[in-house]
Structure formats: structure tokens, C-alpha cells
């Protein structure tokens, strides 16, 4: 009955389906990003801004639907905030993709391995976020999904510390080379932080619905 009151209407269902689509597109963008690094192919990276634009248009549609009257007023701001955090993940991933285009094939093998590992975990985190969002409407425990995302984030943190140590030992030949590499690593490792924020927000939404 409660589910019907909160999520049962036609417009509500449309918003929910669009949020799922939004997260699925984030998964596709993360997958595309990972493949581009694995194959050292910066041309493949163009799919990330394309998918980001698609994500943007879905976000606008979601927000419009919400302000047209979907969901009870106390839920609207929370749902909008969640969608904005997912959108931030798109932005950070896009920033990382742009930096990769400048980096080209200048990524050391040792650093490249760690970057691929992080890109892979980012993808797994997006997939888990989708599962977590779907859990919001089921009887399953969202806490477990939230914990899984936190575990993934800790893994990224561990790799990040190693990566920073490796970067400190690396000789920087020019200002721009150093800046681009540093920015690339910062954006790449920030994606997991943003997804963790989104997952935490989802958990708060879940608690507020009890």
C-alpha cells in the first residue's frame, strides 16, 4: 500500500524508469571509458561525452516530471538531489575522458594497470548503484548494497594511494604533462567518491520512507 502511495502513479513510474535509464547510461559510459583505456584508444573515448549529453537530457526530463507534480512534495527534493549526484558522476567521468584524450599513449604501463583497475571498479560501482536503486522499491535490504559500494570505494582508495606514490617518483618533463596526468588521476579516482555519495543519499531516502 505504502509503495503504491509513494511510487504507484503513472508519472512516478515514468520518473523511476528514467532514473534507471540514467544510471544504465552511466554504466555504459563507464564501460566505454574502461575499454578506451584498456585498448589505449582515445577515439573510443568520444562515447563518454555523447553518453553524458544523453544523460543530461534524461536528467532534465526527470526534474521536469518531478516539478510537474510527480511524488509527494517531501520526496521531490531528495529525488532531484540523487539525480544531480548521478549527473555529477557523469561530469567527472567526462572530465577524465577529456584529460585522457590529451594524455594519449603517454600513460606508463605501471600507472596504466592501476587506472584500468580503477575504471573497472567504477563500472562495478555503477552497476551496484543500479541494483541499489531497484532495491528501493523491493523488500530487499538496501544496507547490503550500500556496504558493497563502500567496499568498492575503499578498494579505489587503496589503489589511489599506490598510484600517487608512483606518480611522485615519476619525472615530470613539462608543466602541462604533469598537470594533465595529475588531473586525469584526480578525476578518475573522484568518480567512485561521487557514486558513494549517491549511494549514501539513496540510503537516506530509504530511511526517510520508513
Amino acid at each position: 500500500m505504502l509503495e503504491k502511495v509513494f511510487f504507484g502513479g503513472k508519472t512516478e513510474q515514468k520518473v523511476i524508469e528514467n532514473i534507471k535509464r540514467h544510471i544504465k547510461i552511466l554504466c555504459s559510459a563507464s564501460d566505454c571509458f574502461k575499454k578506451a583505456i584498456e585498448e589505449r584508444n582515445k577515439d573510443l573515448m568520444f562515447c563518454v561525452p555523447d553518453l553524458e549529453r544523453e544523460g543530461d537530457s534524461i536528467r532534465r526530463e526527470i526534474v521536469s516530471n518531478i516539478y510537474e507534480g510527480a511524488f509527494l512534495p517531501f520526496l521531490r527534493s531528495n529525488i532531484c538531489r540523487f539525480v544531480e549526484i548521478v549527473d555529477e558522476a557523469f561530469d567527472v567521468l567526462e572530465d577524465a575522458a577529456y584529460e585522457f584524450e590529451y594524455l594519449g599513449s603517454k600513460l606508463d604501463e605501471e600507472i596504466e594497470d592501476d587506472c584500468i583497475k580503477i575504471a573497472d571498479i567504477n563500472l562495478k560501482m555503477c552497476e551496484m548503484l543500479l541494483i541499489a536503486f531497484e532495491t528501493l522499491f523491493s523488500k530487499e535490504d538496501l544496507r547490503e548494497k550500500n556496504l558493497a559500494i563502500r567496499i568498492y570505494e575503499k578498494k579505489v582508495d587503496e589503489i589511489k594511494f599506490d598510484l600517487i606514490e608512483k606518480l611522485r617518483e615519476k619525472e615530470v618533463k613539462s608543466f602541462w604533462e604533469g598537470k594533465i596526468l595529475s588531473d586525469f588521476i584526480s578525476y578518475l579516482t573522484r568518480v567512485s567518491d561521487v557514486i558513494e555519495d549517491a549511494s549514501d543519499y539513496l540510503y537516506i531516502m530509504n530511511v526517510s520512507l520508513r
Partner: protein
């Protein structure tokens, strides 16, 4: 789930004749809790020295870590498992030998390590996935 998907490839080595102080420095610098001790010769086997060994066998007995060699406190041979094995085997080995990490080998080479925390983390992730593929 196969061990290969859970294991960490980050392994740090130390020479058998290095002093315990070197091992401490390496563990602190790399933020790790164990080091693989290299075999002295072809007939020798890999060993492992852990923070636990250092604390209980050296520091706890007020011995000088600069004067004790790693091989004196290391456990050998290491408990290791083939990369194709399932995670259940690791859990049973950890339980049987009361250890917190199992090494992964390919032929005679050690290629990774699985810790108790890795097993717990991956079990929780699998549980959260609930057998679904997003």
C-alpha cells in the same frame, strides 16, 4: 568464485638474510602486513613474515630488530593455492591452519595473495549482487 578474481597482485618481497628492521621499514612504507621471504637458493622455498611475527617474536621479547634476520622468524613454506581454485578452498585452508592470508601460485611462482578481509569483502559484494547482473 575463482580465487583469481579476489586475489591482490600487490606482493612485496624481502631477502631471507635481510634484518627484521628492513622488513618493518618496508611494511610501514607500503602499508602492508606481510612480506614474502625469497628462497635462499633453488632448494629453498618461499616463506612469509607478518606483522604478528615481528611483534610477538622480536619486539614483544625486547630483541633488537636490527640484529635478527627475517628467516629466523619467518614461517615457511607459505600456504598457497592454485589460481583456478574456488574461494571455498581458501576459507577452509584459513580455518584449518588459523591463518589470515593464503598465497596464490602459478607453477612455482607466487602471483597473488588473498587475505581474510578480501574474502569477507568479496562475499559481501556477491551477497549484495544477489546473483543479478546489472
Amino acid at each position: 568464485m575463482k580465487i583469481e578474481k579476489v586475489m591482490t597482485k600487490k606482493i612485496e618481497y624481502i631477502e631471507a638474510d635481510a634484518c627484521v628492521y628492513d622488513a618493518i621499514e618496508k611494511m610501514v612504507d607500503r602499508r602492508i602486513r606481510s612480506l614474502v621471504v625469497k628462497p635462499r637458493d633453488e632448494k629453498d622455498v618461499y616463506g612469509v613474515v607478518t606483522v604478528r611475527d615481528i611483534v610477538f617474536k622480536v619486539l614483544g621479547k625486547n630483541l633488537d630488530p636490527g640484529k635478527i634476520r627475517v628467516e629466523e622468524i619467518a614461517s615457511r613454506p607459505v600456504v598457497s593455492i592454485d589460481r583456478d581454485m574456488e574461494i571455498e578452498h581458501v576459507i577452509s585452508l584459513m580455518n584449518k591452519f588459523n591463518i589470515t592470508r593464503v598465497f596464490v601460485h602459478e607453477g612455482k611462482e607466487i602471483i597473488g595473495v588473498v587475505s581474510l578481509l578480501d574474502v569477507m569483502a568479496d562475499s559481501l559484494i556477491e551477497r549484495a549482487k544477489g546473483g543479478r547482473v546489472a
